[in-house]
Amino acid sequence: MFRTTLGAFALIGGLLATSPARAAGEAIAIPNHPFSFDGVFGTYDRASAQRGFQVYKEVCANCHAMRLLSYRNLRELGLTDQQVAAIASQVQVQDGPNDEGQMFERPGRPSDRFRSPFPNQQAARAANNGAYPVDLSVIAKARNGGADYLYALLTGYADPPPGVTMGEGMNYNRYFPGHQIAMGNPLNPDQVEFADGTPGTVENMARDVATFLQWAAEPELEQRRAMGVKIIIFLTILGGLAYAVKRKVWADVH
């Protein structure tokens, strides 16, 4: 058994077997959820990501910042300049100092970063029972399982199984490491009303916001994959040529 295991490791070549991403954490199996961006050729479902932004704006943004994103980035989701300007102008951002040396509030512009709900981490903790609502800008890259994990987490709230004692103010979640999460169940049926008629089920909202957060974390994904396909095709042809040259050069000495 031991020898077989050793042999298997050697075959796998260590690389696949030992990716540290897989190494950390008592693994709670995260179910695979089908997303539009899965696989090698997947792309972002723009409508889903737009609805996801709506979920973020109306639900998540009450506690969670996304300080790495700007309103102008929303154009990549298919929103028009006018729509982006309208979204940005809904928030008040602090600017200044002006010529009198005073800070002042003004409506947001597309070039502004997403406004954070709290001025600093201490304020965020104070308002949330000591727990810090993490920034969601790159959350899909910062968790094992990525968007699958986010979907599982958002749909994973349940009553604690018998025998499990919950800490004060904690909520049971099937997929959160340790199963006790400070964040209350954020999504309830019909909490968000989608303009395109998509039913506001928890699953729909979770899928849409997971898509939005995946896009926020990897806005370059589509460009990256498209370029990758071209480069792999190019390199395959070049490799064939290089091999032919090598064969020709070596033909007289073998």
């Binding site: 030992t18 990716s19 540290p20 950390a24 910062a142 370059e220 990256r224 990758g228 091999y243």
Partner: protein, 423 residues
């Protein structure tokens, strides 16, 4: 040769003019054109050239990253994400650099493995080998400091764990740690000096690589048979034979590289490094980058801190004396039936250690790490010295040409020492 102008063979008047005054064209012609190279290389001999290309890719992408990166604890994480989002093709440059580090270690691990399997470290190539170990150590230091720069959770805690190792040394330990940190904890001065050194060390590597190549071109390359070339029938000019072969290997390497960069750029990374560094929150499991895992496993296999640190450094330093531990005159493992099995088992142990290093420090991984660590050192310190006396090697081929061409006589005229077309 008269004092004054070099006697150049080049016909092109411009090249000739330069070459007479500074014979770099003659040198290149000698070292990379007609350079006699054993005719029997397999594809393992591509990896030196691949490592050279990889080093250049790392330096090129690194210079562009440094133009946009801010080495400050408050801005480092955000500046990296700004590169990913707002810098034109910044995501490409960063992912190439990030995965380039992993590719570099893949390539260099194979390069070192090839040297060990075919006995390339043996006389007269001991110094060549030792310079290679120096490059490997410099690479590890560079990679470690580079991983700290994005200032994510694994950056910070990896830096904390690894720098703390030096405190195990008696008397000077704490002093070394303070010097590394630039203070009394991993903080902004640490990040600043790591950035500075991360920019400096690659150029030191370039210098040692140059010496590595110089030493190589004195002794000439080893080969899969481990038998020295005895004459022109055993060698081929480097160009076009090995330039062609290396070119093909290079494209294959680029395909693997592109696979990571474009389709799985974060596969070899750790998700925690996309969480900004927080000195108040310790990650559940602090793991180094995959290429450090075998050495990390050796560190953790020893219950004593100083012992673990010494063994971890020892696992690399032992390579310096490998040429003298292995006294067998036969280079290639092809002709060493027992040593071959012992070495392949050592290779398995390396991967086992890599696996255990990524696992939490608990059973059964600790015991497995200890067994693998014992074999790792046992191979160098016991098995190789013993086998040098006890093992009966298989008969060596008379010459490379005879082995490769299958009992044939000397090479067909013209093929072996085909002169290269002059520029």
């Amino acid at each position: 040769m008269a004092i004054g102008l070099h006697d150049s063979d080049f016909k092109n008047p411009v090249i000739r003019w330069v070459d007479q005054r500074m014979p770099i064209f003659t040198m290149m012609q000698k070292e990379y054109g007609t350079f006699p190279t054993p005719r029997n290389f397999n594809y393992f001999w591509n990896f030196g050239a691949l490592a050279m290309v990889n080093l250049m890719i790392m330096i090129a992408t690194g210079i562009f990253l440094a133009m946009h990166y801010t080495p400050h604890t408050s801005y480092a994480f955000d500046s990296v994400e700004r590169i990913m989002r707002d810098v034109n093709f910044g995501w490409l440059i960063r992912y190439v650099h990030m995965n380039g580090a992993s590719m570099f270690f893949i390539v260099v691990f194979i390069h070192i493995w090839r040297g060990m399997y075919y006995g390339s470290y043996k006389a007269p190539r001991e110094l060549l080998w030792m310079l290679g170990v120096v490059i490997f150590l410099l690479m590890m230091a560079t990679a470690f400091m580079g991983y700290v720069l994005p200032w994510g959770q694994m950056s910070f805690w990896g830096a904390t764990v690894i720098t703390n190792l030096f405190s195990a040394f008696p008397f000077v330990g704490d002093w070394i740690v303070t010097l590394l940190w630039g203070g009394f904890s991993v903080d902004n001065p640490t990040l600043n000096r790591f950035f500075s050194l991360h920019y400096l060390l690659p150029f030191v590597i370039v210098g040692v690589v140059f010496l590595h190549v110089v030493a190589l071109h004195i002794t000439g390359s080893n080969n899969p048979l481990g038998v020295e070339p005895k004459g022109p029938q055993d060698t081929l000019p480097f160009h076009p034979y090995y330039t062609a072969k290396d070119s093909f290997g290079l494209v294959i390497y680029f395909i693997v590289f592109a696979g990571f960069v474009f389709f799985a750029p974060n596969f070899l990374g750790h998700p925690d490094n996309y969480i900004p560094a927080d000195p108040l929150v310790t990650p559940a499991h602090i793991v180094p980058e995959w290429y450090f895992l075998p050495f990390y496993a050796i560190l953790r296999a020893v219950p004593d801190k100083l012992g673990g640190v010494l063994l971890m450094f020892g696992s690399i330093l032992v390579l310096f004396v490998l040429p003298w531990l292995d006294g067998s005159p036969v280079r290639s493992m092809r002709f060493r039936p027992v040593a071959r099995i012992a070495f392949l088992l050592w290779t398995v142990c390396f991967f086992v250690l890599m696996y255990c290093g990524g696992m939490p420090a608990e059973e059964p991984y600790v015991t497995v790490s200890r067994i693998a660590t014992a074999y790792y050192f046992g191979y160098f310190l016991v098995i190789l010295p013993l086998l040098a006396r006890l093992e009966k090697p298989l008969p060596l081929p008379e010459s490379i040409a005879r082995a490769v061409l299958g009992g044939g006589g000397p090479m067909p005229a013209g093929a072996a020492a085909k002169p290269m077309d002059k520029a």
